[in-house]
């Protein structure tokens, strides 16, 4: 249905896509796979008319097309849902879905927006997605996962032939993913071609009919899932064999751990905040990786924000290195050696128009204060050190961070905090939206840092990751601590704690 042949794209001197092909057939779900910076997002932006191609042809139903703008490609029948929710939080659900093409009522020049019709049609669309929300609700009041589904509803509301989903599931939990897949299967049956980008391998095998792999801007191959089992898919993406799950290494690390010192690095006693987190006790020791598991909204992120002074804690005590503290501003936490990589990379993490270098030195400079200023030469040196260490793909450290791909932005944020040489590193969903190899590198890096004595609080909704990396696991449920498990706990044990109904 949609054929892209020999697509190349250059930005200045950098070749981002080199002779890439992609064949989408009607009635199939096609997974587009590749590491961060492999060119997936660029390819999608070409299909949707955001960027013109440098070379190559696009054809829809056999006829050549050259979408000049996202609107243009939408008119051609190519609808897209982007990775980050791109809707207006201050408008209602219905307004978001119809923004730019509101149904009209009336005659001639006096056409008013047909509000009731808009609400009616929105409700019908949402029903298709099994989404039970009020179309007149303001979008910003809904959880991110629901906003993501609204974005998909918006894409579906246009009569699309091709639906492109760029990491639609990265902010959804399992049941939401399943209901999304049900919808996708329905759409596939109705003859839509669906292009699906994700980093979750299990999802690829759960839904896709065909897989195209890109690597370093080049086309690697096209397979059916049966032809390409998971390990082969990973090596196709990475170009080498990846050692998955390094549990033994972690065990060795546990053995080599320095003896527990008397005072834990962080000690929480009855720590919490009204209406945010029920009081809980927690000890984080030197060189320990503590995993925090739990569902969306279980209080994982809230706990991290309280610890870091982003929200005020009004219950219990927090002691850092034995000293009781009360943070009212993150700057105080940073001063005591805490670091926090937030979950919402775009809104709480990166400073988009500043360079990679400036983003990396920001926290260190904030801790140093206004004076003395880290000289540009030293900044460049620091930035380069972490670009090399974490393998950040950036042409140079002076390019704006907004131009990096999502995973590389995540790494740059990690670099920002590593540069402050923190004693406690809080990572909130650090692996969201980054590819398998980068995930593994990031986790190896975390384990290495823990070996050197850094204490890590590792928050993730992916239980296998938490199991693999943690010395101990805290499970959160309904904004309280549901329990604590030692290393070697099984996924089932964690799941039990997560799901155990509060009534039991």
């Amino acid at each position: 249905m949609l054929k892209a042949e020999g697509i190349s794209k250059r930005f200045g001197a950098v070749t981002v896509l080199d002779e890439v092909r992609l064949h989408l057939r009607a009635g199939e779900v096609h997974a587009l796979m590749g590491q961060n910076g492999a060119g997936k997002s660029t390819l999608i932006k070409i299909l949707t008319g955001v960027y013109p191609v440098t070379a190559g042809t696009l054809a829809l139903d056999g006829a050549p097309i050259a979408p000049a703008s996202p609107l243009d490609s939408q008119k051609l029948g190519i609808s897209t849902v982007y990775q980050e929710v791109n809707l207006c939080p201050n408008l209602t659900v219905a307004e978001n879905i119809f923004a730019g093409r509101f149904p009209r009522r009336g005659w001639g020049g006096l056409k008013a927006i047909d509000g009731p019709r808009m609400v009616r049609e929105t409700r019908a669309l949402l029903t298709r997605l099994n989404l039970d929300i009020d179309p007149t609700q303001t979008l910003g009041t809904l959880p991110v996962a629901v906003q993501q589904l609204v974005a998909i509803a918006r894409a579906l509301s246009v009569d699309a032939k091709v639906l492109i989903l760029d990491e639609p599931t990265s902010s959804l939990d399992d049941s939401e993913v399943e209901s999304l897949f049900t919808v996708l299967r329905g759409l596939r049956a109705s003859g839509l071609a669906i292009l699906f980008v994700t980093h979750f391998l299990d999802q690829v095998y759960a839904i896709s009919d065909r897989i195209t792999v890109l690597r370093n801007g080049r086309f690697v191959g096209e397979w059916t899932p049966a032809e390409l089992p998971a390990p082969a898919l990973v090596s196709a993406m990475v170009g080498r064999d990846v050692a998955l799950a390094s549990a033994e290494a972690a065990d060795a690390q546990a053995a080599a751990k320095p003896a527990d010192s008397a005072t834990p690095r962080l000690q929480l006693r009855g720590f919490g905040a009204e209406r945010r987190i029920h009081p809980l006790d927690l000890d984080l020791r030197d060189g320990e990786v503590m995993g925090v598991a739990g569902l969306l909204g279980s209080g994982r992120t809230e706990l991290a924000r309280l610890l870091f002074g982003l929200d005020a804690a009004d219950l219990g005590t927090l002691a850092v290195q034995g000293e009781t503290v009360r943070f009212t501003h993150p700057a105080q936490a940073v001063k005591l050696g805490l670091a926090f990589c937030p979950e919402e990379r775009k809104s709480d993490g990166i400073v988009g128009e500043l360079s990679v270098r400036e983003n990396i030195v920001l926290a260190l400079q904030a801790r140093t204060g206004l004076w003395p200023c880290i000289r540009p030469a030293r900044q460049r040196e620091l930035a380069q050190k972490y670009i090399d260490l974490l393998g950040i793909r950036a042409a140079d450290s002076d390019m704006p961070i907004a131009l990096l791909s999502g995973g590389n932005q995540q790494k740059a944020l990690l670099a920002r905090w590593l540069a402050t040489a923190p004693r406690v590193l809080i990572l909130d969903e650090p692996t969201r939206g980054i590819d398998v190899a980068a995930k593994q590198e990031l986790m190896n890096e975390v384990m290495r840092l823990a070996r050197e004595g850094m204490s890590v609080l590792f928050i993730s909704s992916e239980i296998d990751e938490v199991l693999r990396i943690s010395d101990r696991i805290v499970v959160m449920r309904d904004r309280r601590k549901a329990g604590e498990l030692p290393r070697g706990a099984t996924e089932a044990e964690v799941m039990n704690l997560i799901c155990e109904p509060a009534a039991a």
């Binding site: 200045g12 001197a13 950098v14 070749t15 080199d18 690597r215 370093n216 801007g217 080049r218 990475v238 170009g239 080498r240 870091f308 982003l310 501003h329 993150p330 700057a331 936490a333 940073v334 001063k335 926090f340 937030p342 809104s347 709480d348 993490g349 990166i350 400073v351 988009g352 128009e353 500043l354 400036e358 030195v361 920001l362 926290a363 400079q365 904030a366 801790r367 140093t368 204060g369 206004l370 004076w371 003395p372 200023c373 880290i374 090399d388 260490l389 974490l390 393998g391 793909r393 920002r416 590198e441």
Partner: protein, 367 residues
């Protein structure tokens, strides 16, 4: 280091092609200060063609004298206000109360100095009510306090900057009128006149003050991390806070500094006219200052900013005003003329507009 590289880029990317050597013209045209400078040159050229005496400089009574000196001298208060405003705008804010603060600072100074002519030992001597340094200090502190109040409303109370400073614009103007009882207070104390009329080494003192403010700010921003923090706050305040930047404190300080700058400008203005006018001093100055900042190349959306651009912007606005007076545009249409020129300047500075013009020109050429 090498391992990290190898791990990540297993098949080496195709060797990057060298970018085509950029022409000097292209590189220059991208420098942020080029278009403001071109604009300034254009306006000066127009002025010169209508007023041949523009370039004439002479040494008279021990100081420089000429139209250019006059422009620089008159641009000084505007430049100082606009420099302070640049930082506020960089934090994604705006301050429309600077004109009112100019009036307040002038009024406070005038009230505290006043000036009497007394005969001491048979000699006429001018006496101020309070010692001059005290009067200047109090006026500046009052101005900085107005700015700090704006900052508090913005950073602590969470008011939108335009609303917070709109309140100060009205309240401050009211306070200035109250202080002067709605009259023009004349100052009789010659030492005070030096600020707005004096010369040092042949150069106007006001221009030297503006230069000092500019250099002082440049030095401060270069030697400290303030510039980085202000930009981070302007681009993404939440991220700046998470990174440990004291965003609120810095915001309040920036507004206070902007007030202080307006206070300095107020002293220059009142010293220049040897009086304080609560009703008219600094009226519409906030708009000229915002124009100066924007014409200079700082975006109102916050983030990246340029102090040098702002100074050039202030010179552009003042040259324009002087030109309009010099060529005898009737007073009733001079605002219209100014608006048209500013409009043209803004178009000239818009990369999008320039791109369209280029495209048009090329199409025309191909035909």
């Amino acid at each position: 280091m090498t391992t990290a590289h190898e791990m990540n880029a297993s098949p080496p990317r195709p060797a990057p092609q060298l970018p085509p050597p950029e022409s000097l013209w292209l590189r220059t045209s991208r420098h942020p200060l080029v278009w403001p400078l071109v604009t300034l040159a254009l306006i000066l050229a127009v002025n010169a063609s209508l007023n041949p005496g523009l370039w004439h400089l002479e040494w008279r009574n021990g100081h420089l004298y000429g139209s250019l000196i006059d422009i620089v001298n008159r641009a000084a208060p505007l430049a100082i206000v606009a420099l302070g405003l640049t930082l506020v705008i960089a934090t994604r804010g705006i301050d429309i109360s600077v004109g009112a603060v100019v009036a307040i600072s002038g009024a406070v100074a005038a009230l505290m100095i006043g000036g009497d002519l007394k005969i001491v030992d048979g000699q006429p001597v001018h006496i101020s009510h309070w010692p001059l340094p005290v009067a200047l200090l109090v006026a500046l502190v009052a101005a900085a306090a107005c700015g700090a109040w704006n900052g508090l409303l913005v950073a602590r109370a969470g008011l939108q900057p335009i609303i917070a400073t709109l309140i100060m614009m009205l309240a401050g103007r009211g306070a200035a009128q109250l202080l002067t009882s709605g009259q023009i207070i004349t100052i009789y104390y010659p030492p005070y006149f030096v600020i707005g009329n004096g010369f040092f080494l042949g150069v106007p003192v006001a221009a030297l003050i503006a230069l000092a403010v500019w250099l002082g700010m440049t030095l401060l921003l270069d030697r400290s991390a303030l510039g980085l923090f202000i930009q981070a706050i302007g681009i993404n305040p939440r991220a700046a806070r998470v990174a440990g930047v004291r965003a609120r404190t810095i915001t309040i300080c920036v507004y206070a500094f902007c007030g202080l700058c307006a206070g300095v400008a107020g002293l220059i203005v009142s010293s220049n006219v040897k009086s304080a006018d609560g009703n008219n001093a600094g009226v519409l100055m906030e708009l000229d200052a915002i124009l100066a900042v924007t014409v200079g190349g700082t975006l109102l959306t916050g983030g990246r900013f340029t102090l040098a651009g702002t100074v050039i912007g202030a010179l552009i606005i003042q040259t324009l005003t002087s030109t309009i007076y010099a060529i005898g545009v009737p007073p009733e249409i001079n605002l219209v003329v100014k608006a048209v020129v500013v409009f043209a300047v803004m178009l000239l500075q818009s990369p999008e507009f320039r791109r369209q013009v280029r495209a048009l020109a090329f199409r025309g050429g191909a035909r």
